[in-house]
Symmetry: C2
Subunit: 344 residues, 2 copies
Amino acid sequence: MTIPPKRAPTITEVASLAGVSRATVSRTFSRPELLHADTTERVRAAAAQLGYVPNQVARALSTGRAGNIALVVPDIANPFFPPLIRAAQARADSEGYAVFLGDSDERPEREDILLTKIAPQVDGFILASPRLDESRIRAHAARRPLVLINRDIDGLARVLMDVSSGIAQAVRHLADLGHRHIAYVSGPPASWANQERQSAAIAAAREFGMTLIAIAASRPTYQGGQAAATELAQTDVTATIAFDDLVAQGIMAGLAAQGLRVPDEMSVIGFDDVLASTTYPPLTTVAAHCAEAGGQAVDLLTAILQGGSTPMDRILIPTELVVRATTTQPRASAKRRSQQPTFS
Amino acid sequence: MTIPPKRAPTITEVASLAGVSRATVSRTFSRPELLHADTTERVRAAAAQLGYVPNQVARALSTGRAGNIALVVPDIANPFFPPLIRAAQARADSEGYAVFLGDSDERPEREDILLTKIAPQVDGFILASPRLDESRIRAHAARRPLVLINRDIDGLARVLMDVSSGIAQAVRHLADLGHRHIAYVSGPPASWANQERQSAAIAAAREFGMTLIAIAASRPTYQGGQAAATELAQTDVTATIAFDDLVAQGIMAGLAAQGLRVPDEMSVIGFDDVLASTTYPPLTTVAAHCAEAGGQAVDLLTAILQGGSTPMDRILIPTELVVRATTTQPRASAKRRSQQPTFS
DNA sequence: TTGTATGCGTTATCAT
DNA sequence: ATGATAACGCATACAA
C-alpha cells in the first residue's frame, strides 16, 4: 500500500527530450522573451510531456531569491487574523510568492526562533502584531526586508490601523445618541493596538464632554469580556466601547446573564468587525479592515523586494464605525451608581 | 533609510574561523555524534560568533528533504480551521518542520495549482477537507507523501472525524428530553462531512423512532443558518441539529428574529465546537476536536516521512456531545404544522 | 575522528 | 538566439 514517491523530472531530462541545452530550458521558464517562439514551444511541450515543474529550491539556491514570504502572527485562532492571513495569502499568490505561516503562540521567543529558522527560505517577513521587543525586530529587519502590521517602529515599513478616526466616530455616535457616561474595556496593556484605542477613546470623550471610565478585561477574550460585564453593571455608564469584537461579545453575554438588555440598558461597540453580524443583536463596531491590512502588507513587501527600496514606509488604514443594532439612546433613568476612577 | 540586507554567513566562513573543514562544520549541525566533542564545541562557538545558521535551502537541495510540510485548507476564515492549523503548526514545529499554508478559497483548481507549485519545497502534504477530485489527489499523492483530513479516499493516509458517535449522542440526548420531531439543517451537498453527518442523523433518528426532516442551508454560513431558520419556523419540529456551529449560530439568530426563544421553543445543536461558549445561550454541540485532527495529521505525515511507510493509514477521531444551554424539553404544545418530506 | 571531492537542479556569465 | 560552464551552500560517499 506504500506508494513510492516518484522523483520529479529535472531540467536535464527536458533538455535532452527537447533537443536543447539546459540553459534554454531554464530560459523558457524564466526569461522566454530571449528565446525564439518555436524553441520555447518545443521546450514547453517536452516539459508538459514529462510533467516538469521548475524546482523552486534549486532556483532559490541559485538566485538567492526564494519566492516565499513569511507571515508570523501571535495567534491564528484570534478571529482578527484569519481574514488578514487570507488576504495576504491571496495577494502573495498573485504576486508569485508562496507563504510560510508561523504562529508564535503569543510568545516573543517563539517568534524569534521561528524567524531565524525560516529566514533563509524566504525573501521577506511580515510580522503581524509582533510581541517581540524592538531590538530583536530590528535585528531581523537588518537581514531581510520586513513589514510590520500594527506595530509602529520608526524606520521600519509598517501597516497601521488608524484607530483614532474610527474611535472618534464611535464616541460621537454615542454622544449623538445622548450618552454622557461611557466605559472603555481595555485589552492587553502591552499591546500597541490597545494603547492606541484607549488614548483615542479618552481624547474623544474629552472632546465631547463625556465621562469615560476604563475597565480592564483580564484577557482580551470572550471570557474576559464576560468578567468585565459584571464590573460594568455596577457603574452608571450607559455605553461601552470594547477593545475588540471578542471582548464586546463577551460583555454582551455577561450583561445578558445579569438580565441587562443590549442595547436598551447598555449600548455596546466593538472593534475590528471580524464577527460580522454573527452576534445577536448584530454588533455595532469599528471596522478595522484587517483583510486590507494583510493585502497592503504584502504589496508593500513585494514593492520593497522588487524595487530594493521602500516607496512608502508607513501605511495608515482608516477605520470607521459600522452601526448595527447594539447602540441606541440611553434609558431615561440611570438606576446604577458609579465608584470608578474617571478620566477627562 | 533603506537597510542593505546583510548576506548570511556560509559554512565556509565558519570552517575557516574554526580552523576545520567545511564537512566538519556540516556534521556539527547534522550529525554531531560523529565528531569529537571538543570539535563541535569549537565549531559552534565560531558559528555563534558569526551568527551562522545552516541554510535550509542549500540543505534541501543537497539532501532532497526540505524540512517543510504543506497544509492546504479551503478557507482559513472558517472557524473550523484555525484551531486545526494552530495545532498542526505547533506539532510540525516540534518535529522540526516549518509549514507552508495554502488557502484554496474553496476552489479545486486553486488547490491543484498550489500543490504543484510548492511541491518541490515540501516533504509532504496535508490536505484538510480538500475540494479537489479524487484522481488529482491521487496524482499528488504519487509524488509526495500526503495525509487527508476529513476526506476518505481508499489507500491514502487520512484523519477522519467519526461523526456517527457524536451525532448518535446528540439524537439520543434529544430523544431523552422528549423530542419526537427534529430537523437536520445540512451543509454543502458535496462535502464528505455533510454526507456523513446527515446520514448519521437519519440513522440515529430512525433508531430512536423519531421523525427527521432535512432542510438545506443555502450556504454553510451564519447567513445560511439564518435563512434556514425561517423555513424551520414553519415546521413542527422542536429541535434542530445543524451542519456546524456557524449554521447553528445563524439559526439561533434567525429564530430570535422571529420571536422564537432557544431553547424553550426550539432546541439547537451545533457541530464542531469551535465557537466554544461564545454564543448566547452557550451552544450545545458535538465536539469534533479539530485541533487534535491537525496534530494527528502531522504525526501521521512525519511518521510516513521518517518510516517510509504508513503505520496506520486511517485515524478515526471520536466526536462527542457537549451539552450546554441550547437544548431542553420540548414545549407541551406544538403550535406549528408540518409540510416537509419526512425520512424514517 | 576528520578531510577531500562530488553532486543536488537551477540561474547567470561568457561565449558563439 | 543558443550553448558551455561556473557558481549557489550544503551533505555525503570515500579516503585518510
